[in-house]
Symmetry: C2
Subunit: 213 residues, 2 copies
């Protein structure tokens, strides 16, 4: 880095690293073109050789943050006993949700960056949002829901749109506890509520067949 004194060498990567660090400490608002340039020791206009715009930079950072969420999910899922496939499926959907909110609490700045204004649904499958396990957070959720359907825990009718239900509840909870009115809840209450949230999701996913409606 800063090899020749004039050329940086790996500016794009350096900007992304600095951007993640800035977001970690100050949230998405802390990520400014000029600030990152300053940190990396380069002129503001140099940034535009690697990113088309401020928004472009932040999108790239968001994808990297999403891949970190995917990693956190992998770690949480790995702790689910995999002997019984049905039990695993039920455990996996919970693990995905818990990992999501725990990441939000551990890294509020990165979380807000990752899911501020996500792109459309195509972005849910963006290559760059995949974690080391090869899946994006959204794909982790899909995987758990697929497993539930495979085990007969979810009917095809229930499976449809299940992502929206699960994601809504967990994302909403994460947002409210990270930057919303629930942000000053103590750790214990937060964890207890999180457990109820994932239980609610699991219950709500099966609403179509269980009730004789």
């Amino acid at each position: 880095m800063a090899r020749s004194g004039y050329f940086h060498g790996d500016l794009r990567r350096a900007l992304l690293d600095a951007g993640l660090e800035a977001a970690r400490e100050a949230g998405p608002e802390g990520v400014s073109v000029r600030e990152l340039a300053r940190v990396v020791g380069v002129s503001p206009s140099a940034v535009y050789r690697h990113f088309a715009s401020h928004d472009d930079l932040r999108s790239a950072l968001a994808l990297r943050a999403q891949s970190m969420v995917a990693d956190a999910m992998d770690a949480e899922i790995a702790a689910v006993p995999s002997a019984d496939a049905r039990a695993w499926a039920n455990g996996a959907i919970g693990a995905v949700g818990i990992a999501y909110v725990r990441f939000a609490w551990a890294e509020p700045g990165l979380f807000r960056l990752a899911f501020r204004a996500h792109g459309d649904l195509e972005a849910a499958h963006d290559e760059r949002a995949r974690g080391a396990g090869g899946r994006t957070p959204y794909e982790q959720l899909e995987r758990a829901l697929d497993a539930l359907e495979r085990e007969g825990e979810l009917s095809p009718r229930e499976r449809a749109g299940a992502e929206a239900l699960a994601w809504s509840a967990v994302h909403g909870f994460a947002v409210l506890t990270v930057e919303g009115p629930l942000r000053s809840l103590d750790r214990g209450t937060r964890e207890a509520l999180a457990a109820r949230i994932v239980a609610m999701v699991r219950l709500g996913l099966s609403q179509l067949e269980d009730s004789g409606r």
Copy 2:
């Protein structure tokens, strides 16, 4: 307005009106001190006679937007048959949720303004966030949940923290459909999912007593 040519007469109100209009068309980002001053025909610094800062202005606007949400909830609740108290309670909690997401869809800019970074929980009871019916959106939710408990539909243990569960699911869904990856869902799918969301919430609220856990 612009009475004497020098003094405006009712600048504070004019700024709030212009701010709501700007947010309606361009979201919270469209609300800038200079832009509002321009629209109202006043110098930028005049704004600071009525609002301590940009953030202060936006907070005031957010509260006004929240009161509009409260009004929308009143309208939706009014349509719930009130003959049977138990049925009303179950209907009211659904109406609150539906009104919330419908408002978000009808006025995405105002919705994002209203619930961007809400204050802490005290702000949930702010005078200025009350609608014509005298309740803030949060208080509307509390009212419906209280009714459910009164009718024996919710145990005291379930009642505790119920706001967090309900709000999380509905808010998350609203956010994902307004500015998130679910934003390009067609109206029909959106409505169907919304119905499943409120059903999930109603089911999830009672999880503690129903299951023999």
